[in-house]
Symmetry: C2
Subunit: 248 residues, 2 copies
Amino acid sequence: MTRWRLTVEYDGGPFMGWQRQDHGPSVQQAIEDALARMTGEQAVVHAAGRTDAGVHALAMSAHVDIVKALTPHRLREGSNALVRPLPVSVLEVAEVADDWHARFSCTGRRYLYRIRNRRAPPALDAGKVWHIAVPLDVAAMQAGAALLVGRHDFTTFRSAHCQSESPVKTLDRLEVARVGDEIHVHAAARSFLHHQVRSMVGCLAMVGRGQWRAEDMARALEAKDRAALGLNAPPQGLYFVEAIYPES
Amino acid sequence: MTRWRLTVEYDGGPFMGWQRQDHGPSVQQAIEDALARMTGEQAVVHAAGRTDAGVHALAMSAHVDIVKALTPHRLREGSNALVRPLPVSVLEVAEVADDWHARFSCTGRRYLYRIRNRRAPPALDAGKVWHIAVPLDVAAMQAGAALLVGRHDFTTFRSAHCQSESPVKTLDRLEVARVGDEIHVHAAARSFLHHQVRSMVGCLAMVGRGQWRAEDMARALEAKDRAALGLNAPPQGLYFVEAIYPES
């Protein structure tokens, strides 16, 4: 048996999310089915993050145990040929130690949120950005974002379905930058609560619109109450960027 | 009657091309139908370039004559609301002189061609790039591209269906640059022959693969023969970037 690390890009649009579901297609199922056709084995694929329906990944890390002897090249090429036409692509494959775990060995996760901030709706990037037509105040958004960085109880920014044991997380980075007609929000932490990034971005958008002041981000955080949440940003603007591991 | 200039972004994927066709959807028809629903008028929309099936536009310029009194704001918002769910977006609207013509007033056209040059196929940008899995030699491609710049008979790089009176064109710019895991080819000229950019990019890809030497680009040009063409690049990597006008 070999434990393989997979680095995977996917368009979250047609999926119910990463995790296998009874009621619709998932990224996990797409990869597991492709591997099963290649190996004859029903192996479970574990990911660093279980992204929601519609959320994309530029480079998700995952692992899988396979008995059949394979080269990294054959595993990647075979997966990509068999997963078609679903929008999933195995970028890299590497053999890892038997105790390496995509989720539990992961020490850092990075997300990008893309807001297309212009009057006209997106045509080329439909389903890949959150469209906000009114001009946003990026400086105010950045000021608000800075108030969330650090170790806090993020109960306000946590989904009711969150399975994390504790609402206390350390947010290492939350930065807002204008890139052409887009606004990018960069978030990094060891781990996030369910819906945390989308909840933070939703509130930052309220700051950008002038409906909230930057200081209202701190007020929402201190409330430790989901009812203090301004808005949950939609999934299609969110990208899982990278999973970080001690050895990588 | 007012002549309006429209700047339009579109995803070429679902269309037979810019120009209205009997046998399938076109960008022109999508916009004309939206305008007809808004105004009750059957106005023809003229574009700076008639892109092929599958070719995208970041900012196509077009014009249309409308009798009904409209503000630029209402024309843009109404078009974008009525063209949905087709992936077409009117970015800007401006009133222009009655003798301004999107095609005949245009003095420069810019295209971008995107090659995704990595082993794994694209998932997030499927239908938006040409995927070439083998590593391409960008320096050789750039050397080959430089040989085409200037005033030449581009018969080799011209489609059999080209309606241009002369195969002689002046290519102002043809540059190849690596951007992350993509290779971008930038092309600019007053006007292009039908399939010229895709034909040039197809040959440059042969140079990048080492199947042609850079000098073979000059040999193909001098042959003035379509049979000397190496390869026509597929449409989905091509973007109409900008139309240039004397006053803009």
